[in-house]
């Protein structure tokens, strides 16, 4: 059994609570966190322990809420979500073939990253 912090759930809760407010404003509200760190958390990156605890305080959530065990969730770290949120720089209207090809590519890239086949430094 392996324990881990559910960074996806943390990211989702932070994004939801921040809503339309700016990163800088919320970072100041939380205290001792930079806007860029807050952005990384919202993108699923695990923060350091101090930042994690500050976020839990701000969310008014017990830190234990985010600790999971692999057997509880069948190793979700390697799951490919049904829908992946991406930013696509493209024409407003894409032909269906290109759209489907891009979707296939995004899922393949996501799986490769999660499986450690694409290093963080290119």
């Amino acid at each position: 059994m392996t324990s881990y912090v559910d960074s996806q759930q943390l990211a989702s809760m932070v994004r939801t609570k921040r809503g339309e407010a700016g990163l800088r404003q919320i970072a100041q509200e939380i205290g001792n966190i930079s806007p860029s760190t807050l952005s990384r958390v919202e993108n699923g990156k695990l923060p350091d322990m101090d930042t994690f605890l500050r976020l839990c305080d701000w969310l008014e959530v017990d830190p234990a809420h985010f600790f999971k065990n692999t057997h509880e969730a069948d190793n979700p770290q390697l799951d490919t979500p049904e829908l992946i949120e991406v930013h696509l720089r493209a024409d407003r209207e894409l032909d269906p073939e290109t759209a489907n090809a891009l979707a296939t590519m995004v899922k393949a890239a996501y799986r490769a990253v999660r499986a450690g086949k694409i290093p963080q430094t290119s």
């Binding site: 960074s7 996806q8 990211a11 994004r15 921040r18 990163l23 806007p35 860029s36 807050l38 952005s39 919202e42 993108n43 699923g44 990156k45 695990l46 770290q77 829908l83 992946i84 949120e85 991406v86 930013h87 696509l88 720089r89 493209a90 024409d91 894409l94 032909d95 073939e97 290109t98 759209a99 489907n100 090809a101 891009l102 979707a103 296939t104 590519m105 995004v106 393949a108 890239a109 996501y110 799986r111 490769a112 990253v113 999660r114 086949k117 694409i118 290093p119 963080q120 430094t121 290119s122």
Partner: protein, 184 residues
């Protein structure tokens, strides 16, 4: 941040990242070098493991200019950017710097659901404007323009130096209020 302060900050950022990479303020900054420093992989479709070769060909074909880049956030990992290798070099550089600018600015996309099989996000218009400006600064620095003008370089030569398009150089000249010397 006020508009003037934001623009000044962007000009400083462009110099800041060059210094981090051991470059002078007037040196070109290739997007892949900045991305590597930021630990953000820039990939062409054929660099994705276990990806169907026929789909790679379809997306990479020179005629398929409908898409430029996809930025994919991944939990516990830096985002990755996959680009269309069929674009001309200057356009590619501009696209990559624009995407990196969004990430440097910490912009949060607004999720919108489309008919596509992936959730296609957009940025707010004001965030797009910011990324356009910062991306331009990252490509062509104000100091670089001053240096080039001092050397009597013309727009084409400036574009070649920075790996940018002439349109980008003109945009930066307009934004910084710099004028090229008139040929006599």
């Amino acid at each position: 941040m006020k508009n003037l302060d934001f623009r000044q900050w962007c000009e400083s950022e462009a110099v800041h990242w060059r210094r981090k990479l051991g470059l002078y303020a007037y040196d070109p900054l290739p997007a892949d070098r900045l991305a590597a420093y930021l630990h953000i992989p820039l990939l062409s479709p054929d660099a994705i493991p276990d990806f169907d070769a026929t789909v790679i060909m379809a997306l990479s074909a020179a005629g398929n200019s409908g898409w430029s880049a996809v930025t994919i956030p991944v939990p516990d990992h830096s985002p990755i950017i996959i680009y269309n290798p069929g674009h001309a070099a200057a356009r590619h550089e501009a696209n990559m710097m624009h995407e990196l600018a969004h990430l440097l600015l910490g912009h949060k996309p607004i999720s919108i659901q489309t008919d596509m099989p992936i959730l296609r996000q957009s940025y707010r218009p004001e965030d797009e404007e910011q990324a356009t400006f910062l991306g331009g600064c990252l490509q062509v620095t104000r100091s670089g323009l001053d240096w080039a003008i001092g050397k009597g370089m013309e727009r084409e030569a400036i574009a070649r130096h920075f790996g940018a398009s002439e349109e980008m150089v003109q945009y930066r000249l307009n934004m910084t209020g710099r004028l090229l010397a008139v040929r006599r």
